[in-house]
């Protein structure tokens, strides 16, 4: 019984939250890795692209709510998501046209592009705050729980409850669908294959008649969609605050780098590695141990390795270790 209680506790506070957070990081990391693989630079504006997409989605959600439109048990934000994706895709395509293309034509070194994307980051950052402000916005509606803790306790007879929130289930389901669609697109469609070819060997892709402009356009479309979906899922699961999205850049980059930059499969694996590390290191293990250990051995402290205030240190440490010992990541991406 105690083992089961410990397991449920672990599920409730570590495994489920980390899986959901990992799925969000994976979607964010996919966007970063696509830009890195095809446009060949690290896009520091990705966190703020997510914030912008979420902002537009929130505005449309509020508009729908004011008209009395809702999506039943699911959050209304899902209905607003296509509008957010369209607006974000338009924004990143315009940014590319106005900013990145100029530097691409000049064939500047990737490090210049990183600086350029930092500039874009500040502009998008300002744009988002200008539109929606700096404060917290809660826009989740619909049913809150798929399974509540008390329902679970009544069903199982255990001391510990297991709650599954609708947003958690939604995050995981959406991530699965999006990832499957993305891989199908890259593996089987003509355009998807041409993107992989362009990422693999740009000069040879040109010699094969693949149009670089089209590849770049499709990439930004995908990046806009991935960023918005990741941002909205994160916002529904936690809450929306522009500064949090800026901070998300670090775990997202850690996820993409752990998996191997430029490798989509790696970004997904990396997302879960980072999420599970962050959650397990900042979780207070005392209660789990109290179920598993004989009473005399239960530690007095919280057994929390790191305060949650320092959770970004986990991503940072992972980033440093990977870059020192395995710069191409777990799945052999491109070396930085």
């Amino acid at each position: 019984m105690d083992v089961l209680n410990a397991l449920v506790l672990l599920m409730n506070y570590v495994i489920i939250p980390a899986t959901s957070y990992g799925a969000q990081l994976a979607l964010g990391g996919l966007g970063v890795t696509l830009v890195y693989g095809i446009l060949r630079f690290s896009n520091f504006a990705h966190g703020d692209t997510m914030a912008f997409g979420t902002t537009i989605t929130i505005l449309v959600t509020w508009w729908f709510q004011s008209m009395g439109v809702n999506f039943g048990v699911l959050p209304t934000a899902l209905l607003a998501l296509p509008f957010g994706i369209a607006a974000t895709a338009a924004l990143v395509l315009l940014t590319d046209r106005g900013v990145y293309r100029f530097y691409r034509k000049k064939r500047v070194a990737p490090v210049f592009m990183v600086i350029v994307s930092t500039g874009v980051m500040f502009v998008m950052n300002g744009l988002t705050r200008f539109i929606i402000g700096v404060g917290d916005q809660n826009f989740a509606d619909g049913a809150r729980f798929l399974v509540t803790a008390s329902q679970f306790k009544a069903w199982s007879g255990l001391e510990e409850g297991l709650a599954i929130r609708v947003t958690t289930a939604l995050t995981i389901a959406t991530a699965l669908v999006v990832v499957a669609a993305l891989f199908w697109f890259l593996r089987t469609t003509r355009t998807g294959k041409s993107m992989r070819a362009f990422s693999d060997n740009e000069d040879l892709a040109l010699l094969s008649g693949i149009s670089p402009d089209k590849v770049v356009r499709v990439t930004w479309l995908l990046v806009g969609a991935l960023a918005t979906i990741a941002g909205v899922l994160y916002g529904l699961d936690k809450s929306f605050k522009p500064f949090n999205y800026f901070q998300l850049l670090l775990p997202i980059f850690a996820a993409a780098v752990v998996g191997g930059l430029g490798n989509p499969l790696g970004a997904i694996a990396g997302g879960f590695v980072v999420a599970f590390s962050e959650v397990t290191v900042t979780y207070a293990w005392k209660k789990v141990l109290s179920y598993l250990l004989p009473p005399g051995l239960v530690p007095g402290g919280l057994v929390q390795l790191l305060s949650t205030d320092y959770k970004f240190a986990v991503s940072f440490a992972i980033l440093v270790v990977v870059l020192l010992f395995r710069p191409t990541g777990l799945f052999n991406g491109k070396s930085l």
């Binding site: 003509r190 992989r196 693999d200 060997n201 040879l204 040109l206 010699l207 094969s208 008649g209």
Partner: protein, 234 residues
């Protein structure tokens, strides 16, 4: 009458000219081979013909068309294919995907051409699901040539196709190139192994310091005592 001709080409990558009035030509279904010492500008001359180098003087013609001002991509659309010396395959993609990418511009059924390439290089059929980067050097070169053939080119340009492959594989690769030429495709190639390459060449060009030194049929160049003494080692 030559099908593809680069005439009196002069130019280089920067302000210094590498090519000096260099002329290269290949007829329909012929094999033309460019040989010469290291640094003679062989690869540069190839790149000039394919539009990857700015020419200060001279012109390139395909059929009766002046293509001097066209980009490499436009030349691909006109029926020219180029196999670079290195980085000539998509390493992370399967053999078949490599071939498909070669046919990217085509909107018709590519399966007959795919069969043709597999018949020419049977080993590629066995490895078509394998990542091209996992193949041996000789097999990679076959993928590279196969990718170029997928556009159904009129002219195939090869930059040292036998670089870094074993002598046996080299002979086989050259045999295949002869076969390709017999099907009516003109071939212009740069080769380090001058003796073998000239023996299959209809036309040979010996370049020295970016200029034509000797131009003749392959057999005549092999028989020419001066060419033998200076370039073929006796």
């Amino acid at each position: 009458m030559s099908f593809l001709i680069g005439e009196r080409m002069t130019g280089g990558y920067g302000p210094v000219d590498i090519l000096h009035e260099c002329t290269l030509a290949v007829g329909k279904g012929e094999i033309a081979v460019i040989v010469g010492p290291n640094g003679a500008g062989k690869s540069t001359a190839m790149k000039a013909v394919f539009g990857m180098l700015n020419l200060r003087a001279g012109q390139v013609r395909l059929g009766d068309m002046d293509i001097t001002g066209l980009s490499p991509q436009d030349r691909v659309a006109l029926g020219m294919a180029f196999v670079p010396q290195t980085h000539n395959i998509f390493t992370s993609m399967t053999v078949e995907e490599n071939l498909e990418m070669g046919a990217f511009l085509r909107r018709d059924d590519i399966r007959p051409t795919l069969q043709l390439v597999y018949d020419l290089f049977p080993v590629l059929r066995d490895k078509r699901r394998q990542a091209a980067g996992e193949l041996s050097g000789g097999q990679r070169q076959q993928v590279a040539v196969g990718r170029a053939l997928m556009t159904r080119p009129k002219v195939l340009m090869l930059d040292e196709p036998t670089a870094g492959v074993s002598p046996i594989v080299m002979d086989e690769l050259l045999d295949r190139i002869v076969e390709v030429a017999r099907s009516g495709i003109s071939i212009l190639m740069v080769e380090q192994n001058a003796r073998q390459a000239l023996s299959i060449a209809d036309k040979g060009y010996v370049l020295v310091q970016g200029a034509n030194r000797f131009t003749d049929t392959g057999a005549a160049l092999l028989a020419n005592p001066e060419v033998r003494r200076t370039f073929l080692g006796g």
